[in-house]
Each structure stands twice: as C-alpha cells, then as structure tokens.
Symmetry: D2
Subunit: 471 residues, 4 copies
C-alpha cells in the first residue's frame, strides 16, 4: 500500500537428487525465494515415469500442506514463486506450466520477460495453438514445444534462437532437469551441489543454503544445462557480445544473504552506502535507513561518514495485504500505518535518511514529513542508487514513464517535492564501482535508457490484448 | 453408490439473444440439463468484443452465484454440464474450454466421444501443441484451431473431416454461435426460438421449455449451423449414409419431458412398458417400477396388462454423493440406503418389477431380495430394454466387457443370479417398434455389437496414457 | 422456490451401542432423516470419558467426511439435522448443543418448539446466563442445566415440569443416552434395537431400518428414558390428559417408509386418497398426483375410483437451492422450473389432480394452468387434507394467519382463485378416519384452531427480539 | 518454529466515537496490535440499538474484508486479537464474546489470565451455566453476567471483587464502552482522544497513533471507566497496595513505538542495551543483535561500548506458519530457515551478540554455531534481561519450570550449553534501573519467583480438564 519499489516477477528452482524428498526440498527452496513473488507457488516432480504437480494462489506456506505435497513423489523437481501484479491474480497464470507434449510430459518455470513476446505469440497462434493467458511464459512453453528436433536439447536450442529478452527457465521432463539462462544474463541463476549426487539450480543462492546445498557457480549468460544421472552438462551456449545483469538485483531485489557473481549482496549494499557517503556527505547527527531494505546501505553510510547509526522508523511487521480501505481519517495517517517514527531518537537531530531507490516518489515525502513531526531538525535524503528515468521491459514491474518521478523532475525538483533539506542520489559510476565488477556486464537501462536488446521497441509489449477472461 | 445405469457424458447449451441476460438463461438451461452431468458446470459469454467465462466443480446451482454470473455480460452464450466419472474430478476437465486463438477468442462445449481421439491426439502433439488433460474435448478444440481457412466455418468443416465418433458441439466466438452435430447424430441436439430474435440450441428440449423457448427442430446429423444477427443458417453438411441416434436416450438418458425426433420421451417409455407387457406377460397381482426412471414403463406395463400399478419402493430423495464409507453393518444393508420397500403394498403379492436396464447386475438381486423380505410372494423382473452385451465408445460410460452381466451370462443365468421368479427383457425388435421411428436410424451397438463407425477398433480409446497429473 | 408445504423443524437421533462405530451409524441415521432438515447437521459422541462433536452447515453428506468423523470415537452418540428457515442460516444455531456443565459434558439435540420459550428465556437470563441465539433449544439446554438435583434424571424431570409445547430431545452425557418426548407427544420419537446390545432412538423409524436396527416401540408422550449398559429404562413420566400427535406427520412430513403408531406412513397416505375418493368423486379420465409427496394419495384415489393412474408432471430431480434469481422471462415460467407437464398423457383428458395440502395457495393455480396449457380438458383438484386455517406454534413452519389462503377464503373462493374445474378437500373426520387411530390422540390445530396447550397464547413466541447478531 | 520468546496472550481495543466509522478504526487499531496475537481477530459494534459482531481465525487482515465490515455499523466498538497457542486453534475461543444478557446485549474482549479461574469456573457451573470452552475469558463473562445490581457498573464492580490475576477488559453494551484494568495493572491499557468527541482505549498506544488518536493517560491499575456521550468517567477503583506491571512489556512484548508509563518502548530498550554494556563489557570488534526484537538493545550496547554496530544475521521476512514438516536434511539446517549469517561482516571478527531474552535456550546455541561457521572468531552473548527462572501465570505463555533453561542451569552452564565464548545477562537491578520507574511497581516474578498475587498457587491453573471438544 505504501511501498515505492520496483517489483521482481518470479523465482525459479530446480533439483535433481535421487534418494531425496525433492518436493519437500523444493518447498523450502521456494520458501527462501518468497521475496521474489507472493502471488502463487507451484511444484512439479517427476519419478522417471510420471510428472505430478501442484499449484496454488498465495504464499508458499499457504499453497502447500502435507496433503498436497504427498503425491509429489520423485527424484526431479522444479518450483516457481510468482510476483503479484496489480491486475487480476489468476490460478491460470500460476507456474510451473505442466503439459503433455509429443516428447512426453513437461513442466516449465520462468522468471523474466520476453521482449519479442508479441511476435512469438502470433507465431504460435498461427500454428493453431490455443492460449489461455496473456503470459509470455505460456508462449515460451509453446515455442519450446513447437521446436524441431528429436529431443529436448534441440528444442531448447531452437527456443533460444527465437526468444529475446530476459528468461531464466527451469524445465522438468520425465528423465531430466534443464536450466536455461538468457544470453544477456539479465536475471540471476545459480548452480549448487547437494550432498554426493544431488544438484540444485535456483534464482538465488539463499535457496541453496536454506536446504543445505553448496553454491557451485552461476549459470552463464546464454548457457543451457541438462542435469541427469551423469550430473550437469552444458548443452547449449548462446553468448551475447556482452552480458547485462540487472543492477537492481544488487540494489534491492536479491536477499542480502544471497551470493551473486561471487559476492554477498549485503556487502555490496553496505558498499553502496559507503560510496554514497563519499559522494555526498553532509553535516548531521545520525544516520538511519528506511526499513528493511535500506538498512545495510545506511550502516555502510554511517561507517564511512563516522556518524552514529540509529533506528528512526519502526516498521509494522504484520502489515500485509489488507482488503479494508482506509477511510479519510486513516488515509491522512498515510505511511504511519506502515512506519512509526521514534521520537526519542529523532528529536532535535539532523538526520541522514538512506533509502535504496525512489520510483514514483509518493512515499519519500510522507516519510520526511513524519521525521520532522517526530522532531527531526533536518532531514537529508540519500539514495543508494541513481535516479530511475526509464521503465523496465525485462521482467521488472518498475512503472511507466509518466509514473517515474525522475522522468518528470530533476533532482532539485524532487528534493523540493519531498521537502528534504537535501537530496542526493548515488551516481551511476558510483553504483558500478560499488559492484566491483566489469561495468560493461550490467543492464542499467532504467537509469540510462540504454536497453541491452538490439533494435528494442519498448512499446511492443503492450500490444497483447486480453480478449477473454476466465474466473 | 447403488445405481446400475449407463452414464451420459455431458449436456451442452448455446444461445444467441440480443437484449437478453444470456448468462442467466444459460444457467437455467444448464439447470434443466443437470441430469446429463453433475461433476462441473461452466458458462462462457461474448458481448461482441470480449469473451468472459466461469467454470466450477459441482452442480450447476453450486457452481454459480450472482457474483460469478455478474461479469458474464453479452448477447451470445454457451454452457456445459459434465458427468462425474469415477476417476479424479478435476477443474482442468471442466468445460467450456476457453482459449485465445489466431481467429480470436473461442469457447467450446462438447458432448460425446471421438473414436479416433488417439490419432487426433498424436496429430496435435506432433504439431507442437501442449495438452493439459487426456480429454478428447481438448484435442477436439486443438484440431479445430489447427484447421486451415480464414474463418471458423472452414475450420469447423475441417474438424468434421477429421473427427470420428460422437460429438455435439456448441462453439462461441466473439461474433457468433455455432452448433455442430456428428454425421451419425449419435447424441441429440435441438434448435429452439426465443421470442422474436433469440435462438437456442441444447442437448434436450427440456432446456428450451425451461427458459420459455419453443422447440423448432433437431439439428440434423452431420449438420453445422451458425447463428448470428441473421438467425441460424446451415454452414456445413457431412451426412453419413445412415444416422445412429443412441437408443439409450429413449430408454434412460433424456428427461421424460424432453422431445426427441418429435416425440415426448415419457410417451415412448410408457410404450416400451406396453410392448414389454405384450411380449412377456405373467400372472401377477401388482406392477411396480424401480424409481424413478422405470416408473413410466411400469405404468405402461400396468395399463397394457390391466394389472394395478402401485409403488413398492421408496427412494431416499436426499441420497447423494457422500464421502463416508459404510462399515460392514451398513454395507450389509446395501440398497436399503437408497430404497425402502413398502411392506403393506407388497405383503403376499405376486409382484411385477419393471426396470429400464441392467448393466452390471449388482443392484437387481438386492432389490428382488428386499421385496421378498418385505413379503412379496413372487417377484417377476421385466426390463424395458434388451440385454446390454457390449460397451459404448461413443460418449456413454457403460461398463467394460467383463463388467457387463449380459456379456457373461444368458437370461436364465441372470434370472438365477438375481433370484427372480422370472426375468424377461424387451426384445431389440420390440424396442425399435416402440420408438415408432425408422429402425435403421439408431445406434444399438450395446445390444447388438454392431458399431456404426466403419473399421472401428474398440480398444483404441484405452491407449491414451496419463503421464502427468496436476492437483 | 415453488413449494407450498409446511416445514418440519428438525430430526433427532441417538444411539448406545458398545462395540459399534456409533458416529458412522449416526451419520447414516441422519442421512435417512435428511427430509426433516437440510440446513445443518451435527453429531456428538462420548467414549465414557470425553465428548467430541462436529457440526456444519449443509446436508448431512456435505457436513461430514471421513476426516471429520475420525475423532468421533465412542459408544454413545446423538445427531441432529436442522430445517433451513428463510432467515439467516447460522452455524451458531446448528445442533447438538455441546457444553461443559456442573455434572460434566452434555450434548443436546432438539426437535420441536417450546410454547413458553419467552418465559423460560427471561428466567434463564435472570439467572445470569448469557445466550448466543434466539433459539428455544439453547434456552432448553440452559433450563436443563439450571435444574436442581444431583443427577441428570432429576434435571430432566425439572425440565419437563418447566417446559411447555413440543419437544423431542436426545441427550448425551459421558455415560448415558437420554431420550425425552413431550407430554402431548406432538413430534414422533421411536426406540429400536441394534443387534444384541445396542439401542437406537430416532424421530422416525426409517433411520432405524437404514442402519439395520429393528423398530421396538414409540417413546410414549411424556416419557423420558435413559439408556446405559443395562439397556433402556423409563426415568420419568409426565403424561398429559390426552396426547396430540401432529397429523401432518401422516399427511406430509414423515417418510413414506416410516412406521408411526405401528402403521406404515405410505399405507395411511394411500388410505387418505381412498377416503378422498369416497368423499368427493368426480367424472374424469385419469388420476395424477403432484410429485413426489402426493403420489401415494393419488394411487389410492385411483384405486378407489377405479380410474387409471398416470403421471402428468415431471419434477426436476436436481432442482435445489440456487443463488441465482430468475429474471422476468424465467419468472414467467414459474413452476415450469420445477415441473414439466406431459402433454401426451394429458391432452384432451379430464384430469383429477391430487395434492396433499395447500398452504399459501401460490403453487396450485400455476400447476392447474400448466395442465390446461398441456391440453387437459378439465382439472379437478383434490386435496388429501382439510383446509389449513391456523398457524402452528409447535415446531412446524406453517405460515402466518394472513398468509394462509384457507384463512382468507372459503373453498369455492379458492377453487376460483386457482381456476380449477372443481376443488375438494378431505374432511377432518375423513382424515381422522383414515389414520385408523383414536381421534382424540392428535393435534389438528392447524385445521381446527384448537391448540392442545392450555391457556396458549399464539403471539408469545414472537416477542423474542434479536438484539445482537454475529457473522 | 525457531523462536525462543515468551508469548503475549492478546490485545484489546475499544472506541466510542459518534460520527466515525468505528468498525474500520477498530480494524486498523487491531492491525497495530497484531503482534499481541495472530490466532484470531474480532470486532463488535453497537449503534445504540443492536450489537453486530464478526470474528474469524487468522491475522486481522485475513479475518476482515469490506463485506464482513459492512454490517458493523454504529458509534461504539471493541476489538480483540488473540495469541496462537500451540494447542487447538478454535473459532470458539475467538473474541469478543458476544451474548444476550438480562441487561441487554454484551460484547467482551479480554487480555490477561485470571489466577482463580478454576474457582470461578466451579462457581459459574454450579449456577447452572453451560460453558463451551476452557477459556477463562468465557468464565469472566459469565461471572460478570451473574453479578447483582441493576446496571453494568454494579456488575463490573462485582466482577472486580471476584476476579484475581491479570485482566484488561474492553466491554461493549448497547449504550456504552467500558474499560477495566486489574488492581495490579499487570497488562497495559491506555486511553486516547480522537478528534473532538471520540475516545479510544487500547492495550498499547501504537493502536492510538495508527488511527490518529492522541495518547491521554494509562488506565490506572484497579480502575474501571465508562465512556458514553459525556466522555470517560471512572466508575470503580479497586487499587492494590502496589501495582505490578509486567516487565516483559518493556523487554519484548510491546511495539518499540508504543508509549508505556509515558516512555517510548524503543528508548527503554536502547537503555537496556546501554545498561548491559555498562554491566558486562568485553573486548570485541562488532556488536550485532538477534533480529528484530534485540536490535534496539544492540544499538544501545554499541553506542555505550563505542563499538561499531553491524548486521550479522538476515531474517527471512516471509517465514511464517508452514504446515510442511522439515525432513532430516532440513532439520539439520535448523535456524538457517529463519536466519542467514552475513559472512562478510562476521569473518574473523570478535562478535557481541545481543538478545533480549532466553526462555528454553534451544535457539541461542544454533545461532552461536551459525556465526562461528560464518567465520566469527569469538561470540559473546549478552542478554538484555535477567535469567527467566519461573513460569508466568498472568497471561503470558512463558514455558513450564522444566522447560526453562535458567531454571535447570546456572549462567556458566548455559554459556557452556550454547557454546558462547562468554555469556552475561542483565541484572534485575539493572533492568529496573533502565526502566526509570519505581522499582516496586513491577511484576518480575519470572525472574524472582515473587508472584504479586497473595497466597497464589501456581498449580491451580492446570486443573481445568477438557472434557469435550468440538470441531
């Protein structure tokens, strides 16, 4: 209700582990990926003969109980957790997609967004396929099924030749687990080892450590692997000239305890704070962060600036999706439903407030006001990422051009709008520096407008029209 | 739990009626077709721009409330009610199937069974289509979508060229309603008129009268019609050399108040009883029927034989699907859970018990015993149809060869098995005579073993294997 | 939606049967009593130490599955099935009421209506008891708990001294089963034996035969029995000067296969038809009944008048509570949603239409019209009970004075109103004669206005006001 | 699954505010009190004539939607949120209790625990009242209803004379709101003002600020107030010789942004950390807290010890009640499901780990081990409360004697058990000092064993036996 963040569109998981209760392990893996999507969850499992699946709306913990887990017997499994879009939440959109195909049963889980989905959709419809949703994941599945060649490897290869944009797939067949990452590596996907003979793939390493698997490596951009009794082996490589990992995984999406490109996310976020402190210091008494996501950057900022770190806002832990509309009185309370200021730590203080990003800009102003009302003498806002000036079309629900405050206003105007005593964003160079990685290996299109897809038309995606609806 | 009847596999409905609340009329139409299927119900509606649909498990009255009906706005509608098979009841199997296709949105409802479903399935899978069930209706939809030609008429034509077996389809597109009946006319489908400008199609005429529409005619075997603003017009004709309407519609399936081939079903059933009385009279005191379906034949038998008609068994009206297993004590009670005998009308009497059919033969014996225990001096069983010796593969859940008692035993053996004082079935000729229609226009394969499909292989259907399952 | 019958307000059941699965037997007992109430069902069971209970809204088959039955272990059980009033259906009103009391746990199921409920309610509230419903059954429970004496027998005696009106109770304590019938015996209650050492009580004998128990006798009016390891023994007798069994049990309520006062209900109903034929014969071609309840009387009428019995109306078996409102078009169809006429058996015929009762009179007219439209030349209505001129206050939801058509009109006016060619009701004397029992042992207050309760004030019941509501 | 905290047993709320949508305000008030109980939530509202209520299992946000809020019209409201005990979670235990009584409708919400519940229960049962749960709140309601005197004030007075132990009640009648706090003031309850003419009472002030009400004062120990059109007025005073506010409200229960005794909870917690640093300093590199509750104390400790504060554990935000049992592999992962260590901030560091309390001691050891595995060189555990050596009987689900680790072991043994390099608890004196309030105004029985109830028998509570159960 009061968040102002971009939204990730899913988490995927896959496991090949003879002798293990793979459905249960997939459950706990999805549990660790819950932050990547809360709309629905699903698991598909193969025992070598038959594929069984269960999907349901809601959190992973709500979607599964022992009864629904019970029929999911086997040694190969995949799972999916889906982000809740503002539109209609339908079980039809829940994944993994499970289908009978010419090569046998198939289950597929997808994180990302195909930028040529409209073209692929038309191609698939022309072939005489009926689609039940506007989801590009269903299209992806049908493209895969429509590929040539006698085995799944050929069809995956075909799919990678057709598809553009962001995709991390885990695919389950009767006999094997496949993991596919798009040529640009826009979304993360990593490989882990479980015990002696088990293998795991997941969007983030936190899902590996939760089930006791060890991180091995990232799946390479443009790489497709197959895992069977012989372990993982690369079956296709479609490398792009350069990779383009989404910078927001470092800034906000990934869990702080996940490893990405061999670095702990939490450490990078602290470094973002330190970099920010170096770039835009200010005289102040205390440093605080907007809970929970900006806390690491705030601690980093405090360390670098040698100012005391403190808590200034308490977040209501139980706030969640409520179906009750606030009336006028409550609406005036605004962000207070989510945050309460700590008067005793703020009164009379010059406060540095660290946030990780500003998307629409509708939350920052109320928080600044809240801190002032609680007695803060000055409020200096520091943002541990650059201004977001462009939408994302690669799997992140960011906002549209007119919604993005930094598309409409420059920094002094935003400072004015949110009534901060000062406002500074981290520079794009500072952001890249803080990652400690090759600056040419990222997608920063939301900051720079330079989309990593050649000849990309940002409008194409909107052309899919919903002509039927089921409830 | 204690029934011994063949089971119909669905009812279909369609309506084109500008200015009417077509979803509500479809609801009441399905309500009237409830006896053709109780597993699930669904409605799809088009307003010329968009198709909206709602499907749910359970009776029509359970599947819909005002809230679920509300979004179903439009002037064209189709509906489906599905028979509950003994296997898993899944929402995935509920109809109408609703899909986005190259020609726009489509909804399809199917009653029947394609005898070449396995071949069609392979054809569709080869084309790179993924299927989510083993249902031949999903295959039918994909065959339709994969047809050539620029419009729906062409594709329906193509479908009728590919499909073999029993099918009555109602099809909804954005702009029109289609109704299709297979060349043999195995299942019934009729056309009605609603007010000045509305048109209705339904499996049985009772659905027409329930909503105040007038019966116009049966859709011809092999005929496909399209209904739009210009009313109904035939768009394809694929007549078979002879038609083959299922005789069990007369014997048991259709509602007694439905019209079929311009005759009231109830009248035909009374005539079956009269014919039976003429063929196999016996000295007795009273005539009774097994409630509810055999009552008309019993009354006809009583009239013809000039014996008093009476009630001898009371049926528990509220018996329904229960999830509670009877224990041994209850199991011994057997048919008593469903039927209670009326001692005062039976005591000392020689009873003629009329039933409409015997499939497995597991109910007749217990009923005979029940009547004897209630004091009947003699029990003479008369069946208003011939012995069922062959399974059905055209949309009726009849039983398999080994399950059919008349496949394993001759009439004297069955008489012995059910411990009746005498047993007689209606002859096949008597059955045909009672219909009053051309004897060459029916399918009586379950009695004669002569299937109306050329080169028909009764085993083909069983080859579809379920290799994935979703819950 | 289209019924015009009085409504019963519950069925009760009780069982004491060491070694048996009493919860399962209670389930099947309630199943047989389903016609006495479809709103909710409940079962309470004691194993001698603890009482476990489960209650739920809906039909018996909906309220229980194996999971809910599983914890109900023990050798004593009671059950209740509740009638669905038009008002709010609340789980709070579901029975048995289960409570911890000073003498240990107690469960209570009630069929009937206390005519001094308002006084008892005030008495209970004064004592400092909080009530959660306006139900007289909750009041009855609290009156029972508030009685003096060291054991349940004393408290039941006390209750019978306080309570007025209709009540059949089955009561479960840790150690015993109790069954109580009011001094007038307004509602039925009978005792049966199950195997060697089990005992059963039930509102109707059909519940006994369903589970394989043998009918032993009716519980006497004013009798309370206790059943424990020593079998049943009478613990209290509060006989009224005369008994007053509700005549509508014979006419409509009880299942045709139940025994009451040692007679089969179905036989009495056929006799009502014969008596009616003797009282008011008419020249006609066929006799038919309104399905299902009037069929026995119609057959009796046909036998006595030597006219052929036939079916003229088909009832939609699946009609049930629907949440969908008919629109104008459907509303005009009226009773057609429930009944369809059989034109072929009616055309040109002079029809005698037998019904069992007319309450509000809103259904008879449409049915007469339906038969005429189907071609009937004449329609002569015969009712197998006298005109209902007074409401019931003893547990039957009959209607209020202004609603009762026979309170507002005399017979010729009603004949005119329903547009019958002739109309005749069974005389009160004929009704009593047909029962074959002592004419002074019945309550016929709805026909005569002579309520069997001394100094009875028909308005008292309405004074309970609902001042809180929970959802 | 992995928590080791005492558990609060409920939050209460009340509002009297003509012209406001009191149900909606109560909803948001309960929302702010969600941390005091997550099992069920309920609201009752009066409009001066009728009381309407809604209760449901689950979080406040799950228990209410616009549809369930809609009938709750009026100007007086109370609400309740209930703690989830490990035993059976039953809707029967959900509050407010709503009842019809001799003085009209009543709703009651209770936070606390009556120490003489067994005696009161017997008293109530003897009076002929039936109880439906073992809850002392139901007993409290019946004691209240059974009081003498013509009005609610008298009955509340009577109740306060009978009841012993902890109770904060909000009571709703048709015309007024009552708030009652036990003589010892064991649980908090405060009064707030809403706009010009509205009044609010709540367990904690965070519920006041959430809906925009201003904190006025705490309800005094032993005070009962009535709020009607004339505002709040004290109607009873039953002061104990000394008050006994539960110290755990400061340590753990209350939300950090709540005011208690005119102090911000967060400030007191930081002071607990500072006091702890003063009492038991140690050479170390960083200070971290167990998220989330121990963070304020950790920051206080860091400030006082002039050591850098850091995050060392990440808590899975989405962890919640799951129905899936971990298998052995997962179980070995233990606290990792809830916490993940941040290797980069821990590696090679001497870590001070601040926790707020240790109850059973089953979580501290695994966390210490987790930090070591993540590379911590030393782990020094500091607890911002004294050892818990005694159970609570005044409304906190603490644990039993044998479960309490500090009852079985002394501090060196616990240090050994959890394998910390050093372990220190805050002293009881230090705890009292940090509160800044009169040391004689608290209950610290769980630390000292000195229960504030005269002649208190800690065993009495366990004597209530559950002799019936409903599902």
């Amino acid at each position: 209700m009061f968040g102002d963040h971009p939204h990730e569109e899913c988490g995927v998981f896959g496991i090949y582990a003879p002798g293990e209760d793979v459905a249960r392990l997939t459950f706990f893996g999805l549990y660790a990926l819950q932050h990547r999507g809360q709309e629905s969850a699903g698991i598909a499992v193969s025992d070598g003969k038959k594929v069984n699946a269960h999907k349901q709306m809601g959190l992973v913990s709500q979607a599964f109980d022992e009864q629904s887990l019970e029929p999911l017997k086997g040694h190969i499994g995949i799972g999916h957790t889906r982000y809740s879009t503002t539109g209609s939440s339908l079980i039809a959109n829940a994944q993994p997609y499970t289908m009978e195909s010419y090569l046998g049963p198939l289950a597929l889980a997808h994180n990302g967004n195909l930028t040529n989905a409209t073209d692929l959709r038309t191609m698939v419809l022309k072939r005489g396929v009926g689609l039940t949703s506007t989801s590009d994941s269903e299209v992806a599945t049908m493209v895969l099924l429509g590929g040539e060649g006698p085995n799944w490897g050929d069809r995956i290869d075909h799919f990678m030749n057709c598809a553009e944009g962001a995709y991390c797939l885990t695919i389950l067949t009767k006999d094997a687990l496949y993991a596919v990452r798009d040529p640009l590596g826009l979304r993360p996907l990593c490989l882990g080892k479980l015990g002696d003979s088990g293998w795991v793939v997941a969007s983030e390493s936190c899902a590996l450590s939760t089930i006791g698997a060890d991180w091995v490596r990232d799946i390479e951009p443009g790489e497709a692997i197959m895992i069977d009794g012989d372990g993982p082996h690369t079956i296709a490589r479609h490398p792009a000239p350069r990779s383009a990992l989404c910078l927001f995984e470092y800034i906000y999406f990934a869990r702080p305890d996940s490893m990405l490109q061999n670095q702990l996310i939490h450490s990078v976020r602290m470094e973002l704070g330190r970099e920010l402190a170096r770039e835009s210091s200010v005289n102040a008494d205390v440093v605080m962060g907007v809970p929970d996501s900006a806390i690491p950057a705030a601690i980093g900022y405090a360390q670098e600036s040698r100012l005391p770190y403190t808590e200034g806002l308490i977040k209501n832990r139980y706030i969640g999706r409520t179906f009750i509309q606030p009336d006028d009185r409550i609406r005036k309370q605004g962000v207070k439903l989510k945050f309460n200021p700590l008067t005793s730590t703020l009164a009379g203080k010059r406060v540095i407030l660290v946030d990780d990003s500003i998307v629409r800009g509708n939350t920052s102003g109320p928080i600044v006001r809240l801190l002032r009302e609680a007695g803060a003498a000055e409020v200096h806002v520091r943002v541990s990422s650059p201004p977001i000036r462009h939408p994302c079309f690669m799997g992140v629900d960011m906002a549209t051009y007119p919604e993005l405050i930094a598309h409409r206003m420059d920094v002094p105007e935003i400072q004015d709008y949110i009534q901060a005593d000062s406002l500074a964003y981290l520079s794009y160079e500072g952001l890249l520096r803080a990652t400690g990685r090759d600056p040419n290996s990222f997608c920063g299109a939301c900051f720079t407008g330079k989309y990593p897809i050649p000849n990309f038309n940002p409008k194409a995606r909107d052309e899919i029209k919903l002509v039927f609806e089921e409830s």
